[in-house]
């Protein structure tokens, strides 16, 4: 679902960040960030490690102390109680319980997110998302016994099971093999087609081509807010990596 915030020139925005200022460890990690994420798209948040991606995503889900500016999600201030069922969040570390099985992890989050639904719905929803992240064969394995990539897919399943309107995913494809990465990006595209909004971070520039839109971040500043095709056209680069370098060089001149 989307908000009916129809700003001129842009589609309805699911996330609006305005003048966001975040200080961490005494440093201005995000000095003054303004951007918006259109609804119903897969938006890639790309930038090198330490550029402030996780910090921005934490601000969007409302767990980051901010020094200034506003973050609005689906028309409400980030972190509002009304958003807790509508926004799904996957942390970079893949926060799941290592001493629970895959199934028990997903069922717990299914229960937390599915107010009013019966036990059978919870069980069915959990099994469905475990299938969607391709872990059905591992459903009864303890999360702590999985590989890093499998564990991060458990974490993803725990967010998907609430069927949120906005998904905030912090580097969900890191450490996955190419086939799985392709499948996950296809899953994200499918969710966006159903009207979900996805904000997905990655430090791997290659992933740019999988996104509908791109936000390029460097040292807490927005380098570009564009589409993959436009990025290559504007910079004349052959790939996203090269385009990023050209933007950095251009900004430095």
């Amino acid at each position: 679902m989307t908000t009916d915030d129809d700003r001129p020139g842009a589609g309805p925005a699911a996330i609006v960040v305005s003048g966001l200022h975040v200080v961490r460890g005494g440093r201005d990690v995000l000095p003054d960030l303004t951007l918006s994420v259109p609804a119903g798209q897969v938006v890639g948040l790309l930038g090198p490690s330490g550029s402030g991606k996780s910090t921005l995503l934490r601000a969007v889900v409302g767990v980051q102390v901010v020094a200034g500016g506003t973050v609005t999600v689906l028309g409400q201030p980030a972190g509002s109680p009304g958003l807790r069922r509508r926004v799904g969040y996957v942390t970079q570390a893949g926060s799941v319980y290592d001493d629970l099985t895959v199934r028990d992890n997903v069922r717990y989050f299914a229960g937390l997110l599915a107010a009013g639904r019966g036990h059978r719905d919870v069980v069915a929803a959990a099994d469905r998302v475990i299938g969607a992240v391709d872990l059905t064969d591992h459903a009864d394995v303890l999360a702590g016994a999985l590989s890093g990539g499998e564990r991060s897919r458990v974490s993803l399943a725990c967010a998907l099971v609430g069927d949120p309107e906005v998904l905030v995913l912090d580097e969900p494809t890191v450490g996955l093999d190419p086939v799985l990465r392709r499948d996950l990006w296809a899953l994200f595209a499918g969710l966006a087609r159903d009207g979900r909004t996805l904000l997905v971070s990655s430090h791997v520039m290659d992933e740019a081509t999988r996104c509908d839109r791109l936000l390029l971040l460097r040292e807490g500043r927005l380098l570009a807010d564009t589409t993959p095709g436009q990025l290559l056209a504007d910079t004349g680069a052959a790939d996203a990596d090269q385009a990023f370098l050209r933007l950095v060089d251009g900004a430095g001149v």
């Binding site: 200080v23 961490r24 460890g25 889900v61 409302g62 767990v63 980051q64 102390v65 972190g79 109680p81 807790r84 069922r85 926004v87 969040y89 942390t91 570390a93 893949g94 926060s95 799941v96 319980y97 001493d99 629970l100 028990d104 717990y108 989050f109 229960g111 937390l112 997110l113 107010a115 303890l142 725990c158 609430g162």
Partner: protein
């Protein structure tokens, strides 16, 4: 706050515990082994009749303090707490979930330990035995509540474990186990008056000494519950939705 979400969280904590057979075995067996050891040490004297009941209140407190402070510290540092607080789960649900789960474990622990003390070690209990179990459970919940609170001040599991000697040992020394609280120097006596463990030992002592001690034990229980509520409330204040 929602009873459903608290219960769901308690259930999840119990499931986590279930995966850890060794911890469960230690939780259930170690108190009985220690009570048995004491009964053996003091066999032939009347000391066990004095020390035994006190230990029934102290063990669950110490054990649950440790288990809970480490478990919730993991939740804080592992990122799962950050994630939980972006869901409809309230902070109080997190606290209550843990308290409920460990209270349930404490019931089993207390039944096993009290049964062992009474049946195998021949501990004489003048008051109702079930009330002794209730005191032990209340102490366990108190340990759990203080453990939740302590975990807020630790940044590693090493630190969390160090809160044991810092928070728990002084209470064990002053609670009336080593010498009756009446025999303490006045200042220490006053300090022991505001330490929750003292009330556990008062309650178990009252219960085992005479059948008329039930009323005193009831009052001590209320004091312990007061401490539990305050510790849980303070603990949920230490859960921050937004962090730096």
């Amino acid at each position: 706050m929602s009873p459903r979400l608290s219960a769901l969280t308690a259930f999840r904590v119990l499931r986590q515990l279930r995966a850890d057979h060794r911890t469960v075995a230690l939780l259930l067996v170690v108190p009985s082994v220690l009570v048995g050891l004491l009964a053996w040490m003091y066999s032939g004297t009347t000391t066990f009749a004095v020390v035994g009941p006190a230990l029934l209140g102290i063990f669950p407190f110490v054990v649950m303090f440790l288990v809970t402070s480490v478990a919730t510290l993991r939740e804080r540092t592992g990122g799962t707490l950050e994630r939980l607080l972006t869901t409809p789960l309230a902070k109080a649900d997190v606290m209550l979930g843990y308290a409920l789960a460990f209270a349930l474990v404490a019931v089993v622990q207390a039944v096993v330990t009290v049964a062992f003390a009474v049946v195998v070690c021949g501990l004489q209990v003048a008051g109702p035995v079930w009330l002794l179990v209730v005191v032990a459970v209340a102490e366990a919940v108190l340990g759990c509540a203080l453990g939740l609170l302590a975990s807020a001040f630790a940044t590693s599991e090493f630190q969390a474990v160090q809160f044991m000697p810092a928070v728990v040992l002084p209470q064990v020394l002053l609670c009336g186990l080593l010498i009756p609280r009446d025999g303490l120097p006045t200042v220490l006596r006053r300090i022991s008056d505001v330490l929750p463990l003292s009330y556990a030992v008062d309650a178990t002592t009252a219960l085992t000494r005479s059948a008329s001690g039930t009323g005193d034990a009831g009052r001590d229980l209320l004091v312990i519950l007061g401490f539990v509520v305050v510790a849980l409330a303070l603990g949920s204040l230490t859960l921050r939705r937004r962090t730096a």
